[in-house]
């Protein structure tokens, strides 16, 4: 849901992949997740909370994540999300297919003739 015409929407599934990958590195709570993605992408990507939380719940329902009580960076109680085995498998499958897609797009864009 891009409010600013300068920003574009991610394609469907993109947010889920990035969340899974980030959580693979280490389990995080919601705010940390947002900051992580922003940081690692050098501010090229920005996650909107409005899409993050629904996505997190969907992934919880699918069983790719699990949530547990934990403490935030500031010491307040929060919920920390961690990747499950099923999530891991899904991540690997999807990122592989994603890589192929990007490779294909790149080749088409790079073609001179």
């Amino acid at each position: 849901m891009a409010r600013n015409p300068k920003h574009r929407d991610l394609f469907p599934g993109a947010l889920e992949i990035m969340v899974l990958k980030s959580l693979r590195l280490k389990p995080m709570h919601g705010y940390a997740l947002v900051k992580h993605i922003k940081q690692v992408s050098d501010e090229m990507l920005q996650v909107e909370e409005g899409s993050l939380y629904p996505a997190l719940q969907r992934m919880l329902r699918e069983g790719w994540l699990e949530s547990e009580t934990g403490v935030s960076a500031k010491g307040r109680p929060t919920r920390i999300y961690r990747l499950t085995d099923a999530g891991l498998k899904h991540l690997e499958r999807e990122s592989e297919s994603l890589q192929r897609m990007f490779a294909g797009i790149n080749r088409v864009l790079a073609a001179t003739s």
Binding site: H29, G30, Y31, V34, E48, E49, G50, Y53, P54, L56, Q57, R58, L60, R61, S67, S72, A73, K74, R76, P77, T78, R79
Partner: protein, 897 residues
Amino acid sequence: MKFLNRLFTRRRRYDDLSVSIQEHLQERIDELIEDGLSREEAAHRARREFGNVDLIEERSREAWQWRFLESLLADLKLTLRRLGKSPGFTATVLLTLAIGIGANTAVFSIINRVLLEPLPYPQSNQLVSLFLNAPGAGGLASFRTGLLLSQSMYVTFSDHNRSFQSMGIWISQHANVTGIAKPEEVRTTIVSDGILQTLEIPAVRGRWFSQAEQDPRGPKTVMLSYGYWQRRFGGDPAVIGRIIQVDAQPREIVGVMPRGFRVVDQDFDLLLPMAVDRVHEILAGFGCNGIARLKPGVSIAQADADVSRLIDVWMDSWSNGPGTNPHWYRIWRISPNFHSLKQQVIGNVSSVLWVVMATVGLVLLIACANIANLLLVRAESRQHELSIRAALGAGRARLARELLLESVTLGLIGGLLATGIAYVGLRVLVAFGPGNLPRLNEISLDARSLGFTLLVAVLSGLLFGAIPVWRYARSAAPLMLGATTRTATAGRARHRSRNVLVIAQTAMALVLLVSAVLMIRTFAALRQVEPGFSDPAHIQTFRVAIPESLISDPVIVTRTQNNIVDRISAIPGVTSVGFASAVPMDNDDPNWDQMWIEGKTYPGENPPLRLFNYVAPGYFHAMGTRLAAGRDFTWDDLYGLHQMVMVSEGFARDNWGSAAAAIGKRVRQFSGTPWQEVIGVVEDVHVHGVDDKAPPTVYFTSMLKSPYSRTPKIDVSSAVTFAVRCSRAGTQDFIDQLQQAVWSVNSELPLASVQTMQDIYGQSLARTSFTLVMLAIAGFMALALSIIGIYGVISYAVSQRTREIGIRLALGAQRNTLSWMFVRSALLMTAAGMAIGLVAASLVIQLMRTLLFGISPLDPVTYITVPLVLALAALLASYLPARRAAAVNPVETLRWE
């Protein structure tokens, strides 16, 4: 499992989500504070960046929900709460629905069992009743059963037919069983070979009769009914092979039939083989019912044609004795007119049941109209809310769904309560309904009835819910369009639906009331008919059958019966005693035969058949049948075998012009018998029920010289019904005394069919009285509902138009005029309803014609009185609210904003 798990952890998920989001916001706020914003600014900005927090939280929750179901459940909770908030409305609606739906379910259960599956035999579509038309046989071939079969007919048809898999004949009688406990008279059904094969119900113990047992010289056997087996033998499995004495004939028990088994519509205790004597049978003796199972693919018309050629074969194969002409029966013009057995059994019960079903259906419709009116009012009060919701984006379907949910919920709860009412209603109907309903004891609330209840509940809910939906669920309706404002009253269109409903109600109520009143008048007309006996409540009747094997000498039989009469006369309180072959309305005609009148000739044809009865002296006195001329028999006449008869008034008038003129005239049964002198004339007796004409009857003494035998022989009625007039008739004490009196004469004679004439008379009226009660109740309910309906509409109109009334009053209108305005609107609606109703009633009543007696379906008195009553009711119903209109204080209404 996952599903259940999810339900329980959902709370936890919602909590987690909440905590996550809140914490997320807090962190952002802290960050912004560190960047230098104030707490307020930081909070403000963080929230704005996040977005609509609540909405996002809700959207996130949706991952754990099924949206449609959640929404429906929420609506349901709201509906229930809203219904709970108006207990008066809810209680009224539920009560009305429970009664309306319950009554329908009860009647449906009966129809389901009685009309749709009246015969519990396999493939009952193949079963036919062997109905014979015989227009030349006069009264012997009744309208209802046609000409019954003789045993010789059975032999001929059974041997030579090409259309039946199996066929047989049966007849119901009674017999005395001795040797087990007290002597007891039981009901028996005598079956020929082929009956059990046709019905195809196997014995639950033992076996059917074998062919050898159907031979008159073969072994004597008997089969028991399930009920009798339980009652007398305690369900003893070793009963097969035991010997019991049936009419003093030892018979071996060979089988027991299953529970609830009847031969067509006859209950029995014992089954006996008919043992038709193929050698000595004669043509005559038309008393048996015939049934057959068609071969697959054979139609009834084909069977008719097949058997009609057998009539001649029958006449050729048998005779009535030397010197008689077998082809004489050609006069009777016997022809087969087979019905499906279902048809025969249902008979005229179906008309009653359909009338009753239509009645309760109409009452339910009227009730739904009332409820629809109530719901319209409710919807109107919610109109503001609904308009806002529509403006906020709710679609028409969404609003409709909510309104319908309320009405369907009401319908379903009403339906639930209705099952309770139906259960009670069934008990009542079965106890008081027409006794000849087939499978009466099997009627209960089964799966189909419950399914019917559910269907009716949902349909009713949709029906009365559809009306408010249609009027109010419009999307994006302009706010408060046409509502009452300070200077305007609600538009006419608003009231039109309600008025239409009231008109419909009134029309239906009129139809019901007209039917009810016609039935009341029918009943009254029936009760006016003099049945031929007086004060039936004080006449005790019972049957005593003296089997030939006990006493074979006819004179001794008569002496025994005479002694019984004497003993009973000695009981204190008994004013008169008598007996006869049959008492009126007992569904039993002793005999029909021709009577030749001396001096009369019958060119080319025979005299018409007349009903015979065999009576003892004192019988008419005991029954209270008036002697119109001449005298009663005496015991001398009886023992002296005098050639005397008595006749009914109708017979006397037909032949000699008056009762007095009949005395001394002579009659005889045919040319071979001596003339009999008419010594007395009694009033007509309606032996077939008061709605049937009293047949002309000839009364013989119960012991007489046999008219048909070559050698001198005495015939006697060994099975007779006693009639005892006593103030204590019907009490158990008295019945015991009667039994003692009979036993003191002969200890092996049981009493049977002990009832008062009132019981018999009441049973003959049962069909009419049952219909009457149903219609009367329905008519009353319809009237009450209509009054409530009219009251509601006028009342509401008054409340809506209060301001208008205030204005009128302020401008100088008279209070009376205002009251009249409302009353007039009520009368107009009623008039419209009545007009429609009268037309509908005149059409509907034609369908009920067979149930009426002594009154025309378009009886003017009824058609004028009922509308007047309804108009009066409407007047009454509108009077109270109209008075309220007159009592309005204009100052208050004009001031109120």
